[in-house]
């Protein structure tokens, strides 16, 4: 036995523990294929290594984690399946989703952990149950994740920076397709003494511009009523689609050609069929030039 071979046999335990570099691992696997001793040693120690993950202190997972994780995983799934389809999704996705009832529950419960916008290099999940449903929509374009609307005032700059960071990462990730650029993040203001809150995010990729609207604490809908989103240019409205709500929370996704709209508004409509606004405005904001 040569010295080199001897030292490779010494790697078995490190290999089992995942303590080799990828090059070393490849070398060892080639060696092991022809070394019975190493294979036997590996089979002797592997059960211990495999049991190590169970040899830890129990700890309570954060509140709402299940909804967040499943929404994210299934949202990624929707993104892969949705392809070019960028029509209204909110109401449909909510009813399609097997966990819809749980999302609804999450959106009503208080005390869900709200992650602070800390200075982190990688921000993957910091939305909360209140907007859990909306993450499905966001995942469709980028896996972009949002935080409670009502925290946004103070932390809008941080959000913009983090969204930019996420889009940069998304741009590097070949699995998400073309790079996304976050164009604008706008707070929507409630009208007529309503308490409603809303957020509009506009992202750009090589297919055009995409509007993501999220709103919560919206007034209750009756019968055929629906919320409708309008993009306005010089006072002339363009229909950006309708959405329904769960417990006052709803969201909408709309793709459009690049255009210089100057306003966005959400109205409460008698039904989802209108081409011009008929109902009262519940949320609105000016779209500032970039």
């Amino acid at each position: 036995m040569t010295a080199a071979i001897e030292s490779l046999c010494d790697w078995t335990d490190l290999y089992a523990m995942g303590g080799l570099t990828s090059d070393e691992r490849t070398m060892f696997e080639e060696h092991m294929a022809g070394c019975k001793n190493c294979r036997e040693r590996l089979m002797a120690v592997a059960p211990i290594i495999h049991a190590l993950p169970w040899a830890v202190d129990s700890i309570e997972p954060p509140a709402g984690m299940k909804d967040r994780v499943l929404a994210r995983v299934l949202g990624v799934h929707e993104a892969a399946e949705a392809g070019e389809d960028s029509q209204l999704l909110a109401a449909k996705k909510l009813t399609d989703l097997p966990t819809a009832t749980k999302l609804e529950t999450a959106s009503t419960s208080k005390g869900i952990a709200i992650y602070p916008v800390a200075a982190r290099s990688r921000v993957l999940s910091w939305f909360t149950g209140g907007l859990a449903a909306a993450v499905l929509l966001l995942a469709i374009t980028s896996g972009l994740l949002l935080q409670r609307v009502d925290r946004l005032d103070q932390e809008r700059e941080a959000l913009t920076a983090q969204v930019a960071e996420m889009q940069r990462q998304a741009g590097e990730d070949t699995s998400t397709g073309s790079p996304l650029v976050v164009n604008r993040v706008i707070n929507l203001s409630p009208m007529n003494d309503l308490v409603a809150k809303g957020l509009a995010t506009i992202v750009i990729d090589n297919k055009g511009m995409h509007l993501i609207v999220q709103a919560e604490q919206l007034p209750e809908l009756q019968n055929e009523e629906a919320f409708q989103v309008w993009l306005l240019k010089g006072g002339r409205p363009v229909n950006a689609g309708t959405f329904l709500t769960y417990d006052g929370t709803g969201a909408l996704y709309y793709s459009f050609e690049s255009d210089d709209f100057d306003q966005i508004a959400i109205t409460k409509e008698p039904d989802a069929k209108g081409q011009t606004p008929r109902g009262e405005v519940v949320l609105a904001a000016a779209l500032p030039d970039v």
Binding site: D10, W11, D13, L14, A16, M17, G18, G19, L20, T21, E24, L42, M43, A44, V45, A46, P47, I48, I49, H50, A51, L52, P53, W54, A55, V56, D57, S58, I59, P61, P62, M65, K66, R68, V69, L70, R72, V73, L74, V76, H77, L97, P98, T99, Y115, A118, S121, R122, L124, S125, W126, E165, R168, Q169, E172, D173, S175
Partner: protein, 195 residues
């Protein structure tokens, strides 16, 4: 008696895009996966991110996982992926996407897991408790080297550099630690602690 669907069946259903199967697998492993990852990253937010990413990987790659040929492989694989993701997080390797190399990991796990007699999480947890006690019995040097390599993802060379000890010493500490754990492990099996 309540019949439990095996992990392997769940993976097959997940491969067929069954969201309920995903939820079942999630419910089964949320706590152990979270506890394990938290043990590594020691950060609540990061632990959730890592567990989330683990499920994203499972969802994405389930159709490539050949589940025939014995139980116990799926959970071992899941934890291996979780560990890789946690190490990536710990190392913060730039901003490139996490590389868990989940399929490579599956290939590796397949060859290392024999038919397991413990099929249920509760049994594994019991074994884990015993192993935790055995880990406590290791001497400080052995604990340290396991900490660096297994929980922090350092390579043998990095441990040698960090601890200022020869590579041979790293290897022998690992070997002694595993020998001792193996001995205790065999005792559990003999004593019937582990069914």
């Amino acid at each position: 008696m309540r019949e439990t669907v095996s992990d392997e069946v769940l993976i097959r259903r997940i491969a067929a895009r069954d969201a309920q199967a995903l939820e079942q697998l999630y419910d089964r492993y949320e706590r152990p996966a979270y506890a394990f990852v938290f043990r590594m990253v020691k950060d609540v937010m990061a632990a959730e991110e890592v567990v989330q990413e683990m499920f994203v990987r499972i969802w994405n790659i389930a159709d490539r996982i050949d589940t025939d040929g014995g139980r116990g492989k799926v959970s071992t694989w899941m934890f291996a992926v979780a560990r890789n993701l946690a190490i990536d997080w710990l190392r913060k390797r730039g901003s490139k996407p996490l590389e868990a190399l989940e399929y490579d990991e599956w290939e590796r796990v397949k060859g290392q897991v024999e038919q397991e007699t413990t099929e249920h999480a509760v049994e594994r947890k019991l074994l884990g408790e015993q192993l935790k006690a055995a880990l406590e019995e290791l001497n400080e040097d052995q604990k340290q080297v396991l900490e660096w390599i297994y929980y922090k993802g350092y390579t043998q060379q990095e441990v040698a550099d960090h601890e200022r000890i020869p590579l041979g010493t790293v290897k022998s500490r690992v070997r002694l630690a595993l020998n001792q754990l193996r001995k205790r492990f065999d005792e559990f099996v003999r004593e019937g602690v582990w069914p």
